[in-house]
Structure formats: structure tokens, C-alpha cells
Symmetry: C2
């Protein structure tokens, strides 16, 4: 247990908590107060850790993803479960029609085959509607450009996952990659903004 | 006040709370229990709403951004404050050296002029380190490709802001745009992932 804590970068208390909550499978008991943990336990802990500490998902969402990963037998399925957890709960009411149309045009322009009723799709409509409501029309006018950049990212994400040779590793890669790639892209965009803010509004170097 | 609630899509109770907390400037009193609010109040409320409901920033961070926006006199300054709030608190300890070097190479490759000590830069090093620690080397190998996509996004972000003609509107655009563009890109990437998951792992249409 101490070894597991060291290698997963989690406290013993946290690991015991994950055990109690069923997020980590029990170790093999060797005596009343001793159990053996192996590489599978460490791998699971790292996944739970990423979902909890990096994606900051609530416990019930972590449980959903973990359960899905154990039974899932396709990359598509694992991706759907991960996306739904990352998007979070989304209201089921009617969505803004103008935003829906603007999104549909952007999707058609790119030729994306995606799932119209998925939480990600509903969340995208809501994101466009928010921009329209706030009068950020100049930004909405560039939907196609943002979609083009998003296309590159989605393509790289899937290429990265697909170089792995076992399905199990691929599914783990989908979940872990989706969660950990997010802060990477977020922060890279901030650095790019700094660069272009300097270019357009800063003094000469 | 009722009118303000309707047009800002916030409850009267929430608006009164923002008034008490000093996030919204007081209206012009016309009698003991009547006050007049104008377009500036509505604009401020929408900004606070976006920071609270979309970016989910804690109250003290919202106050920081709001105060900075009122005194800030440059796009660069407004952007720095917004970025710092979005990145959140980041530990000040030593950062991973390998990750730092990998990030430096990616930044040099793109020719970005950015701020080495900024919270965004530190958060980027941490993001790379997390990927390395989780054995997602295949993803780290593509840092340059992700940086290239991030470059497009940062460029569009700044172009969008820069079409506005008043500095005040530009600063508001930096803050509001940064906060509301995030869910747009996040969800667009999810749609692109769905597309490429279908392409690479799905059945033929």
C-alpha cells in the first residue's frame, strides 16, 4: 500500500478511500492486514487520479467512466462515455434555433460525421448561443476557422490513440488522453494569445 | 431591477447579491427604494455572469478580473489578468525539468514571444509533465502539432478582439471572448474526435 501510494503520487488515505468507494479493485489478501497490489492496480489508480485531480470530475462521474472502461469493447464506446463525463450534465430543454443552424453549417462545412443528439453536440449549440447572446458576433463569424483548428486537434488525438496496439491500452489512452490533453491545449492557446497580443498590441521587441 | 434581471438572464436575488459584493456598481437612486440602472449596469452584469456561470470562477477571482477591467488601459494588461484568473492558483514549487525543456522546444519551433514566468507558462509545463508521468509519450511526441493548432486559435482570438474600434470594448471582448470561446473550442474538439473515431474505428457509413 505504501509502495502504491509512492508510485501513484496519492496518499494512503486517498487510496483507502478509493478502495471503499469501489473505484479501485481490492488487492489479493495475504494475511488479515496485508494485501498485494500489482501493475493493474497502479494503472487504475492513475486513471482515477487523472479523472479526479485533473478533470475534477465528481465521484459519481468517475465511477461511470471507470465502470465503462472495464466493460467497454470499442474505442467509439469508450470515447462516448468519456466525452459525456467531460461535458457534464446539460439541461434537456429546447436549444436555441439560430445557434443550432450556425453549428449545423459549420459541421457541414467541415464534413464531420458526428452524433447529433450527443451531450457534446448539445453543449456546442449552447456554446454558440452564449456567444450570440453576448453580442460576440465577430467571434461567431469565425466558427469555421475555429472548427478547422478543432479538426486538427481531434485528428491528432485519434492518431495518438491509434498507434497503440492493444484495444485495452487504446481505451485507456482515450480516457487518459482526453483528460490530460485538455490542460495542454488550454495552456498552449494562452501562450499563443500572449504571442499575438504582443504582435498586434505590444511594442516592438 | 426587474428589467435588469430579465435582460441579464439572472434572478433579482443574484443581482442583489452582486450589488452587496461590490461586483455591480450601485444604480442612481431616485427614491428610498427605487434606483435606475443603465446599459453599463447590464454590460457589467453579463460580464460577471459569464465569469461566474460559464468560467465558474470563485468570487474573489471575479472581483480581481472586474477590478482589473475597470482600471486596465491596454489589451495586453487585460489579457494577462484574464489568463491568470482562468489558469487559477498554481503551485510555486520547482517544475519538471524535462517538461520545461520539451515546452521550450515547442515554443521556439513556433517562434512564440510569450511570458516565461506567467501562470499560463507554468501551467503548460505542468500539463506536459502530467502527460510524461502517465506514459503518454505518443502524445508528447506531437507537441508541435498541438502547438500549431493552438497558434491558429490564439491568432483568431486576437483578430476577433482587434476588429472592435474602442479600447474599452476591446478589453471587454478579451475577457468575455476568452471565457465564452473556451466551451466553444472544447465542444468543437469533441465533435472532431467523434468524426475521426468514426473514420478510424467505426463502420463504413
Amino acid at each position: 500500500m505504501a509502495e502504491l501510494a509512492r508510485r501513484s503520487d496519492l496518499s494512503v488515505a486517498t487510496i483507502k478511500y478509493y478502495l471503499r468507494e469501489g473505484l479501485l479493485q481490492p488487492g489479493r489478501r495475504t494475511s488479515v492486514n496485508q494485501a498485494v497490489y500489482d501493475a493493474a492496480h497502479l494503472e487504475r489508480l492513475r486513471l482515477v487520479r487523472a479523472l479526479a485531480k485533473v478533470a475534477r470530475l465528481p465521484l459519481h462521474k468517475i465511477r461511470e467512466v471507470i465502470q465503462a472502461v472495464s466493460v467497454e469493447s470499442s474505442v467509439l464506446g469508450a470515447m462516448a462515455v468519456t466525452q459525456d463525463a467531460l461535458v457534464g450534465d446539460i439541461e434537456t430543454g429546447a436549444l436555441d434555433k439560430t445557434a443550432d443552424e450556425a453549428l449545423t453549417r459549420a459541421i457541414e462545412e467541415r464534413g464531420w460525421r458526428c452524433e447529433p443528439g450527443s451531450p457534446a453536440h448539445r453543449a456546442a449549440i449552447r456554446a454558440v448561443a452564449e456567444l450570440q447572446a453576448e453580442g460576440l458576433g465577430a467571434l461567431v463569424d469565425r466558427l469555421d476557422d475555429y472548427a478547422q483548428a478543432a479538426d486538427s486537434i481531434g485528428r491528432i488525438d485519434l492518431e495518438v490513440v491509434s498507434v497503440v496496439d492493444s484495444l485495452e491500452a487504446m481505451i485507456r489512452g482515450v480516457v487518459l488522453g482526453s483528460v490530460l490533453r485538455r490542460p495542454l491545449l488550454d495552456t498552449f492557446v494562452l501562450l499563443a494569445q500572449q504571442h499575438y497580443a504582443n504582435e498586434l498590441h505590444g511594442n516592438a521587441p
